[in-house]
């Protein structure tokens, strides 16, 4: 019984300690974003890596999600003669929910893993110590540009993903389900409000920050050797994905009714 309580206590302490380390890491990293010198080249490299090279994967994901959504919602709504709402359901679902969450999860897999692996490898090969010896702060040089790039790029990716997702719904609606193109477009825009899009973009910015934070944090604290880097990469993707789902609810609840 005593050992059971001890285990609970030990787990709770380990969790609180990890939470404290992560919070401290985030605060320090965010502070360096706003402190000169600014590493523009690093920032640009990350923006290209996150924003440009993630476009195909985000585009494909949202395209097929929009297409499936149109098919599924048609199947459901046809049962009570509400087929006309398919376009509205597709656009609201994609902009408010599917676009940011799916893009976030895909980027978490692609970018979170790559950041953790790159920084983790730098840790185990002493490159991070080398930065320190060359009078460059690793948090400022490696972490701050990645956090900023993640936070800036995800909204742009989601915005493009939204357009592609709605286009996917349009293709299925018009060419498979026989909707009139003009009516489908008008239904798409009729109930769409600016707040629907901005809510999705706010979520995307939060997800982008969390993905970069998890990638950098786990990479920075990577264990020794290939096994340590591998574990850091897995932890980065898993924790970023879980945090995306949790923060998705929290942001939605915060803006509920808007």
């Amino acid at each position: 019984m005593l050992s059971f309580i001890q285990n609970i206590g030990r787990t709770a302490l380990a969790f609180l300690s990890a939470l404290g380390r992560l919070t401290l890491f985030s605060v320090i990293a965010v502070r360096w974003i706003f402190t000169p010198p600014y590493y523009w080249q690093q920032l640009l490299r990350q923006i290209i890596d996150i924003g440009y090279y993630s476009l195909p994967v985000v585009g494909l994901t949202t395209l097929f999600s929009g297409m499936v959504l149109a098919l599924q919602s048609y199947t459901g709504f046809a049962r009570f003669s509400a087929e006309d709402t398919v376009a509205t359901v597709v656009v609201l679902s994609v902009t408010r929910e599917l676009g940011p969450v799916l893009a976030g999860l895909m980027v978490a897999g692609r970018i979170g893993a790559s950041m953790a692996a790159e920084i983790g490898t730098m840790r185990v090969t002493d490159q991070i110590d080398a930065l320190d010896t060359l009078s460059t702060r690793p948090m400022q040089y490696l972490v701050a540009p990645r956090l900023l790039a993640g936070t800036l790029c995800l909204p742009f990716l989601v915005l493009i993903g939204d357009v592609i997702g709605v286009f996917g719904g349009y293709i299925v609606g018009v060419f498979r389900l026989g909707f009139n193109p003009a009516i489908y477009l008008s239904r798409t825009l009729q109930y769409l409000e600016v707040s629907d899009v901005t809510l999705g973009l706010i979520k995307a910015a939060v997800f982008g920050f969390l993905i970069a934070l998890m990638g950098c944090y786990h990479g920075y604290h990577s264990g020794r050797g290939a096994e340590g880097v591998g574990r850091a990469t897995t932890n980065a993707v898993v924790s970023a994905s879980i945090l995306i789902l949790i923060s998705n609810y929290l942001v939605t609840a915060l803006f509920f009714g808007v």
Binding site: M122, T133, L134
Partner: protein, 263 residues
Amino acid sequence: MTAMPKIELQGVTKTFGDNTVLKGIDLQVAAGESLVIIGTSGCGKSVTLKCLNGLITPDGGSIKIDGVEILGGGRAAMEGLRRRFGMTFQFGALFDSLPIWENVTFRLRQQRKLSKAAARDIAVATVTDLGLAPHVIDQYPAELSGGMQKRVALARAIADKPEILLFDEPTSGLDPITGGVIDRLIINAVQRLGATTVTISHDMASVRRIADKVAMVHNGVILWCGNVKDMDKSGVPEVHQFVHGLAEGPLTQIPANAQKGRK
């Protein structure tokens, strides 16, 4: 009256968890002197080196550079001090994502905002001094052999003309000939800069070539420290065993209590 040492460590201690790695390191290195730290794996050599330039903060003791205490001065003071240091790491620690010229001039570009053309000129001059072809500066670290990577790491360490150079096993993983070449390059570069150096090495041939003074770390303390010429007549069994690479001796003796445990 004796001259003030360039580097002075007194009673430096460091513990990781339950493991006390440094139990009180005392060392003095004169300006322009080359000290080599030897010792078995895990004895605390690398930790001592990392304490010197602030990569690890000791738990206790004192570290002075030119008579000025460097511990407890805060991060800003340590960052200022690091500009006086150059360091090479055991496996080079070159930045994979940057070409050689950016690796070599990394600190110069960050600190002095050198133009790309000026940085490339400095990189060419530095790598050719170390026997590399000028076109190497446009290659990436992964494209170079181990020996070439060591030269680039040395170029990066000396590009900013530091006063103190720290070398962590500069010849490890190299064949004896390349190791000898690296030693000669280190000696030449150090002489040109007039730098004070602290090196960690297991390679006794290299130690004899580059050291003025040798210190042996064992069980977290300096077991013996003296002129490299006196190394063979130190009279300390551990030093004798290490220097001659003997399998039998005090460094490889299993403690009596451990032997009982095995039974």
